[in-house]
């Protein structure tokens, strides 16, 4: 049995590596010199380097980093959409890296659901069928599927659009479908890869608020990837700043703002700090 007793943390990742090699050769991750060569090589991309972290139950954990820092690769590794090169992943007691095909399918159906930046909706299915998709894969019969789908469609505010096709919805509405499709499976872990990046600022703001509200009610663990500091600070209980495949700092948003671990993080939060300082100054001058 691959599922062990319920652990304290929802997600536990130890020494995770993901290397995109030009050929399918084996890499010895103990050999420090080989690793150095790997990092210097042009053909191979080290997308995730030796990352370890854990996410508590019901926590919103945000991973923030610039484009190409490996965020998507990391989140895809958690579901083995990308095959990790080395390391351990434990999600709610599932030893993810050592599941066979059948267990992996069961794990994906039961334990986690993912929301994608480009929505990934089925263009040939309407909203109702898209939301019910996960349940269909599990073999749940049509009546129950549609009842539960209607419930979630209502909760994300898409009532009346059940029979629309994704192409006829705005980006924000499509992502609502994506969120409903994820939450209908009652996933203990919700993975979100830049879900709001494609939306305009107002809608983005609205969706963030809704996500917070949903999280208050359903209480799942959320692993949230973004390249937007504001978004990360608003949503995250804790935040990891990622750079070139590494976590350079993992802390609460306030700590990161107050005490950036290095130059890179400092530059990242600089604007935000000046913004806050300005606001504070304004407050003190008006109150004086």
């Amino acid at each position: 049995m691959s599922k062990t007793a319920e652990p304290k943390n929802a997600i536990e990742v130890t020494n995770l590596w993901k290397v995109f090699t030009s050929d399918a050769r084996q890499i010895d991750f103990e050999d420090k010199q080989k690793l150095q060569e790997l990092e210097d090589s042009d053909e191979d991309t080290v997308a995730v380097r030796d990352i370890s972290f854990s996410v508590q139950k019901e926590e919103v954990f945000v991973v923030m980093g610039l484009s190409g820092s490996g965020k998507s690769t990391l989140i895809r590794c958690l579901l083995r959409l990308a095959e990790p090169s080395s390391g351990k992943i434990n999600i709610n007691g599932w030893d993810v890296c050592n599941l066979d095909a059948e267990q992996l399918t069961e794990f994906r159906r039961k334990e986690a659901a993912m929301v994608f930046q480009h929505y990934g909706l089925l263009p040939h299915r309407n909203v109702l069928d898209n939301v019910a998709f996960g349940l269909k894969l599990q073999g749940i019969e049509k009546k129950e599927r549609y009842e539960r789908a209607m419930h979630w469609i209502e909760r994300v505010g898409l009532t009346g659009f059940e029979h629309y096709y994704p192409a006829h919805l705005s980006g924000g509405m499509q992502q609502r479908v994506g969120i409903a499709r994820a939450l209908i499976c009652n996933p203990p872990v919700l993975l979100m890869d830049e879900p709001f990046s494609g939306l305009d600022p107002l809608i983005r703001r609205e969706m963030q608020d809704e996500l917070v509200e949903i999280q208050d009610r359903v209480k799942t663990t959320i692993f949230f990837v973004t390249h937007d500091l504001d978004e990360g600070m608003r949503l995250g209980n804790r935040m990891a700043v990622m750079r070139k495949g590494r976590f350079v700092q993992v802390d609460t948003p306030d700590e990161i703002l107050a005490d950036p671990a290095d130059e890179y993080v400092a530059r990242f939060v600089q604007d935000k700090r000046t913004q806050i300082e300005k606001a504070n100054k304004k407050k003190t001058t008006t109150s004086a």
């Binding site: 794990f107 480009h118 089925l122 263009p123 040939h124 192409a167």
Partner: protein, 283 residues
């Protein structure tokens, strides 16, 4: 002159090989032959039994449903009347049954092969050169194996037509499945779709427009083959063309030729319209 003692003939061993194969795989050849014949006879019987006006009605309904254009519908409806006017109606029905048989068999073989190619690069690597070979060979060449194993008659004619018209449906099935966007496939996989579910729920439905385009092309290839296949006993309009050529009867050849073209136009329009209707909605 080329030195006579350097001459070496392979005709004899080849004939021996064919005879050996015919003998050894007799069951297989009989099976193929009787399957094709049964299907052909059945379709022929059904198609002959239909009254002529029913064809017009069917074309009218299908044309309207698939194109929603009054002009197209009227044109497509009138075209079959021309065939009747030339007195070639019965021959056209024979040709239609040959084509339908060939297309049905091509679909039954072609779509699964295309799916296997899309699923496995190894299989794709084996099948692709075969398809290239099949498509570069002149269509007359297909008459030879058909003739060898099945002699003269309608069955070898259908068989040659099948071999000739098979590649497009395989290719476009494979292509359609491979073109399905990675985003959608990844999302489906992340929700725990098995390989089979991914195929059934996502890849095949999204590849249907491409598959139908393949069916359309396969049908067109089959039509192109009818005249050639009539050389080994395909009958129908093709034979009429062939006979006119032999007699240098330009007028009769024209009538039969035009009838083939009319069949082609009608079938092409209808299958293309059908393919359009299957496209998933876009913005």
């Amino acid at each position: 002159m080329f030195p006579e003692r350097w001459e070496y003939h392979v005709a004899e061993p080849i004939n021996d090989l064919i005879n050996w194969m015919l003998h050894t795989f007799q069951g297989l050849f009989d099976g193929i032959s009787s399957t094709i014949l049964t299907l052909l006879l059945f379709l022929n019987e059904v198609l002959t039994a239909l009254p002529w006006w029913l064809y017009i009605v069917i074309v009218c309904v299908l044309a309207w449903v698939t194109t929603k254009s009054i002009i197209t519908t009227i044109v497509l409806m009138t075209l079959p009347l021309v065939i009747g006017m030339f007195g070639l109606w019965e021959l056209a029905v024979v040709t239609l049954s040959v084509i339908l048989t060939a297309v049905i068999v091509s679909i039954v073989i072609g779509i699964p092969v295309g799916v296997l190619m899309a699923e496995s690069n190894f299989i794709a690597g084996i099948v692709r050169p075969l398809l290239d070979l099949m498509q570069t060979m002149p269509s007359f060449v297909y008459l030879i194996p058909a003739l060898m194993f099945f002699g003269l008659g309608r069955v070898p004619a259908v068989l040659a037509t099948i071999i000739y018209s098979l590649p497009p449906v395989i290719r476009l099935t494979n292509l359609g499945l491979r073109q399905v966007s990675d985003d959608v496939q990844e999302a489906a996989t992340s929700y725990g779709a098995t390989r089979w579910q991914l195929l059934k729920e996502v890849r095949v439905p999204l590849a249907i427009p491409s598959i139908l385009a393949g069916v359309n092309q396969t049908t067109m290839m089959a039509l192109a083959m009818v005249v050639i296949a009539s050389m080994i006993g395909g009958g129908g309009l093709g034979y009429e063309v062939l006979r006119s050529i032999n007699r240098i009867d330009v007028g009769a050849g024209f009538e039969a030729g035009i009838s083939v073209v009319i069949l082609a136009v009608i079938i092409d329009r209808l299958t293309q319209g059908l393919a359009k209707r299957w496209e998933p909605p876009t913005v």
